[in-house]
Amino acid sequence: MAGFDKRVFSYEQAMEGIEDGMTIIAGGFGLCGIPENLIAEIKRRRVKDLTVVSNNCGVDGFGLGLLLEDRQIRKIFASYVGENALFEQQMLNDEIEVVLTPQGTLAEKMRAGGAGIPAFYTATGYGTPIGEGKEVREFNGRPHILEEAMTGDFAIVKGWKADRYGNVVYRHTAQNFNPMAATAGRITVVEVEEIVEPGELEPSQIHTPGIYVDRIIQGSFEKRIEKRTVRS
């Protein structure tokens, strides 16, 4: 009886069921808190025509940038892209469709998607190209646009620690989009640095309750730094 034990023991098992054309919601901000091994597994499986929802798209050769190498991403929803030459080239050649989405709206689309709210009004983007073609409604004398929630076939998430039941805590600013992504997947896969026994995590400190999580895997991480800034 597995009960609430969400553990899997290989990355192959972790991404079991991913297919061409699926939508993947990914946690991470820049290279911080990205599910780097789950992304590598998606690359290994060579699935294509993916729609990816992520704040950024990695860098050349790391993170979601890996999925550009074999043109696995057909469409991406992101707030900031183009840190990588390959992305820029595919964007200019129309090989990848980019839906630029304000960062807060992107976070809320994931949050709402996971929370069963199909759409929400926001002032963000009104009067800009982002608001074009979207329903407008005035609240308290101010125009807002209607934005739709997003969910994915898979959500891929990077946590710090989890217990076997899939309760997850994140470390520092590696939290970012991960908690929302975790709620928005039909299948949510979380990779963590350490899996602990139920009871070891303080219940009131859990960021992502296990109910959202389908699979947990323990991995090791490169944690590449994008902009290394130090003081002397």
Binding site: G30, G33, Y80, P102, A174, N176, K227
Partner: protein
């Protein structure tokens, strides 16, 4: 003389008040953190999910899990809080941040701002800028007053695609400090040695010039 980047940051820092939660954008706004006046405490918000951004880390403190919205490695100051992106933008959209400072390509007399997209050039995205300008009541835009070719960036109406509509009320350029109110720029201060005439000439939008426009002053060390 036009203000240097450091002087612009120094001037903006005078708008900080004790107890302010402040979001600083990339570029000149980031430099504002170096000029927080003595005797006041401000808490810096970084939209990737950090309230209470501290200094850059030492080599020993360097941590890949600890970055700011510019993706630089940072530290958290004592009393900092860390949270999700949804929580972060709840603070921003909900109007809880006391002051936002960000750069712009153009602003206009109706408080519109264009800061993220130049058609024909590679578009990288708006990041959190659209949420920040939509959510903040109190925004200072830092920018150069005119292009290198002398074309004004303070316009009657923005030419570039907008980041936000009707949301900017204060602008600090390298030449002047202005407010935007009732469809016009109001000249409040001028950079040391910069004439009102030059500012008038380089402002394409409607500009109201009060009888007296004080000159900004800076300490020698700046």
């Amino acid at each position: 003389m036009a203000l240097t980047r450091e002087q612009m940051a120094q001037r903006v820092a005078r708008e900080l008040e004790d107890g302010f939660y402040v979001n600083l954008g990339i570029g000149i706004p980031t430099l504002v953190a170096n000029y927080i006046p003595d005797g006041i405490d401000v808490m810096l918000q970084s939209e990737n999910g950090l309230l209470g951004m501290g200094r850059f880390p030492t080599e020993d403190e360097l941590d890949p899990d600890m970055i700011n919205a510019g993706k630089q490695t940072v530290t958290a100051r004592p009393g900092a809080a860390i949270f999700s992106s949804a929580e972060s933008f709840a603070m921003i959209r909900g109007g809880h941040v006391d002051l936002t400072v960000l750069g712009a390509f153009e602003v206009d007399q109706n408080g519109n701002i264009a800061s993220w997209m130049v058609p024909g050039k590679l578009i990288k995205g708006m990041g959190g800028a659209m949420d920040l300008v939509a959510g903040a009541e109190n925004i200072i835009c830092t920018m150069t007053h005119a292009s290198k070719h002398g074309e004004s960036k303070l316009l009657e109406s923005c030419n570039l695609p907008l980041t936000g509509a009707g949301c900017i009320n204060r602008v600090l350029t390298d030449l002047a400090y202005l407010e935007i109110k009732d469809g016009a720029f109001i000249l409040k201060e001028r950079a040391p040695g910069v004439s009102v005439e030059e500012i008038v000439e380089k402002t394409a939008g409607k500009l109201i010039v009060p009888a007296h426009v004080p000159e900004m002053t800076f300490e020698e060390s700046a």
